[in-house]
Symmetry: D2
Subunit: 309 residues, 4 copies
């Protein structure tokens, strides 16, 4: 058993014994019902070895983690033009969402807050039918994870749509500034659906490998993006990937990462590994509480922090 295997199992054991679990998201029944004790961790190193523990093969709602992949896809389609519609600075305050949009005339601060991800989705949609755009996103996810079984949880998407008044506010607000091109309901429809993709830790870690290895999957050799773009997506993940807890995540974990309200986190150790963790309880910033703690433990033991080696 490799050292990484051992460490991953030890971390899973430690996490299992903790009683602080954060709060599971309850704004839609599908998330509220998730087992709060679930915990999965999957790490794939440069050689393609997978170290996994816990519920690493249970699918969960990736939610905002999808924003990393839609950003990648949109950059592939429109290139750096994307940055005319979305910034790449941390949003920097609990008052971000719609307040920031008013100050900056409808341009979201970065692609990883809701407004920014909606604007990115609008770029992918770009005149096509929602169904086509969604098909393209799903196809991309399946390609990256090398798994044709990945699917959208339609119940989650429907619940999001039914209760998503704040996202509808953000989208209409951007539309009023001309930042969105497609009908608001089309863009939101695609957005809710890609947030509702269900994946396992193992699938997610596989899908993230290109970010750890200069844009290509070192096992298949398939190139996804140029090395510079991979670095830059990692940079945006580091500064903006955890909402108003991004500074804290960088400080404690020291890796680029993107969290989702379903309790998942994708983290990238450049040159070393792609990591997915899942624990449904959230901290006050909406990021997985134990997921972050597991990652902190992992990077410390493996010496993977990008801030000092």
């Amino acid at each position: 058993m490799s050292s990484l295997d051992t460490i991953v199992k030890e971390i899973a054991d430690e996490i299992r014994q903790r009683t602080d679990r954060g709060e599971v998201a309850t704004y839609i029944p599908e998330l509220a019902r998730v087992d709060p004790d679930a915990f999965g961790l999957a790490v794939i190193d440069a050689e393609g070895n997978v170290a996994a523990a816990g519920d690493s093969d249970t699918p969960f709602s990736i939610q905002s983690i999808s924003k990393v992949f839609t950003l990648t896809l949109a950059l592939g389609k429109v290139g750096d033009r994307l940055w005319r519609r979305v910034g790449r600075e941390p949003s920097g305050s609990p008052f971000n969402s719609i307040v920031q949009l008013e100050y900056e005339r409808g341009i979201p601060r970065n692609p990883f807050i809701n407004a920014g991800a909606i604007a990115v989705t609008d770029l992918i949609l770009s005149g096509h039918q929602p169904r086509e755009a969604l098909g393209e996103i799903l196809h991309f996810m399946r390609f990256l994870a090398d798994d044709q079984t990945i699917a959208i949880d339609e119940a989650v998407a429907a619940s999001e749509q039914r209760t998503g008044f704040r996202n509808a506010a953000l989208a209409n607000y951007m539309k009023s500034f001309g930042v969105l091109e497609n009908p608001v309901e089309f863009t939101l429809g695609v957005y809710y659906h890609h947030c509702a993709i269900a994946m396992t830790c193992r699938q997610l870690a596989t899908a993230g490998r290109f970010l750890a290895h200069l844009g290509r999957n070192p096992t298949t050799g398939m190139s996804v993006v140029h090395p510079e773009r991979a670095r830059r997506i990692n940079a945006v993940m580091l500064t903006c990937g955890h909402y108003d807890g991004s500074g804290e995540f960088a400080y404690r974990v020291g890796l680029p990462g993107k969290s989702g309200v379903g309790g998942g986190i994708l983290a990238i150790a450049p040159g070393k590994a792609s990591i997915a963790v899942w624990s449904p309880g959230l901290d006050s910033n909406g990021n997985s509480h134990l997921g972050r703690i597991a990652l902190e433990s992992l990077t410390k033991r493996m010496g993977w922090s990008i801030f000092g080696v």
Copy 2:
């Protein structure tokens, strides 16, 4: 001539030929008078080799770069208690300064915006006389740079003090929330003076070496901070070191860095090098325009980005 030497000289040549230089700060005469064409670059690698070019031995006003060192010093004195007075999240908006203080009841977002650095200075002062605190800071800088000639430019300090109404507003505002303990004029006095320290690129790069090498200077073997603290200071530099241009710096340069309004930037390539660059012209976020471009070129050619290797 080593490859690093060559690259540093090439970059200096390229920068010399550019006509876009940004705008030199003019709020005090001492900065306004600086030669806009000045350019210095000094890189010190893990073995202690120095590659330098241009005006790398001309002292300039380090201004906010001093905040990295006062943070380090304050952490040494009060430990993680420091984080009760200052946050570590990006400030995230051009509306940061005093607006953010009102929303968050006097707690600055991070130690690298003015308000945060004033709060850190107050922790160093901690009941002592301003002269003593300042002596301690200067002593620390001389120790880190291994150079007893480093001094404060008193004319700069006096000008800052005479025109520093906005900093006085920030300090009084924090004082009204009990975030500062010392008399406002004492804290501001020390703050203005440590921002007025003058250093060369070579001295600055030397002073930053402990951050590149897990808390110790690999040449002298002297330990400054624990490895974890070095990593964490780097993390805060990456997310917060360039005001509202921090995301951009991470995206383009891919290194932790801290800029000053005098046109200097200290950047850290963990495990590889400590880098100081100086070009007085600033971009719209108040960061050295050509300094950032030089660093972008350097990290690209050396493959030093922390986001993909």
Copy 3:
């Protein structure tokens, strides 16, 4: 010819000679097409005498002036419970709209900004069909103006609905806080339609008479609201009736008033007169430029300011 008649005609003459007209609203074609030189003024005194001049019998889009009447109607239906959903403080900044909603958790500052009027409309709707609610509003306007010909300009309503992304953002945002009870599209539909009511200055001044005379129309003797409620609606008009130009209107005109983006203003001289003025060009706060000037002249000559008699 009475003194009031003379003064009204003199004012109309003066206004006709001015070349500063403000800017006609252009966000929908129906408003953009309005003759910028149109000007109407109608004043009805306590005895029911009407002094009118200019285009006082030309219907125009009353727009936000309808908010005075929907507030009155909603207070009649739900009483002071209304104030749980809407505040009654001036919004006080050009940054009002959605920023304020975020700070105050979805509760609009007052019933005369868009968000507040949408919330009031939602209270009128209150489970009914949009058509019924709209019928009730129209019925109320016809009753107050004693004119069964008053109608909605359907083209205006349709244009508002087609372009109203910012209002949709406000409504969805309030909905996300539970401040709206009805489906967003129902509430907005009714809102757009009552803003699209077309009336003449004469009709509008008639409709406003109850506010000038302690809640009843002194000619018909019909009571609309209790005296205290009439005073209070006037108070809200004074402090909030002209968006971020409310202070200026009080300072210059000295009467409670409510403006609309169609260029109309309803002003109330308590105990003395109900006044409607119309000039389509707007000032930077979105209030009728010459309408305000005409009212300033009228109150000065008649000695009608509520701030000194």
Copy 4:
């Protein structure tokens, strides 16, 4: 005994029986020590008859009520140029103070919030020595109240100065935008001292009579300001005189008024009376709780609301 006399005494009796008193200001010991049960009311009608009850001859700290008089004095010195330094719109949010200054580049929203009153004080100071400016303000107050015994409570002024970090923040902030001309400590010194003037209800009501009677004291015949200026000061009092409770005061009391944190309120019934009330307990907006209730009762019984007669 006149009807007004009777009503004033009845109101004093009713207030005495109430147990809801609000919270006395405690930020300086001199205010914290004031008897929370104190209550004074003085009303002076157009003929100069005084109806008074309770502690109407006990001096209290007028605090922000002084802003009405410094505004009057400054308008007399610099005329409408004053409005280049200060706006006249309601501040409109609990987030007013320094946030608003950042958005509007150092120009306070109106002369009755702290920042605005500091800017007005700076205009009075205008190059003179603080002692001279203060002498002029005190002389003006004594003239208006026709009472040479009115004095500054030096202990209050000293306490304000010692604890006034937030005001120092506001002043320094405005200074950074060039809105203040004099040394910050001079302007603040005068400001703290005029806020520390002690007056009785009777003196205050006398001093306010010119505002109720078109700019002149009808008993002495002395003219203080032109009628239009009196009306306009009243208008600013109505829209801005009670901070973020100005809308509420207009809604409930229906008179122009200015409150102070010492528990006093000056209210003006144009053409009818000048009124001063004092009860030290404050509501959540910092306005006298029972003072407002007493005024609401008085205007209702006397039919003095400016919003309907």
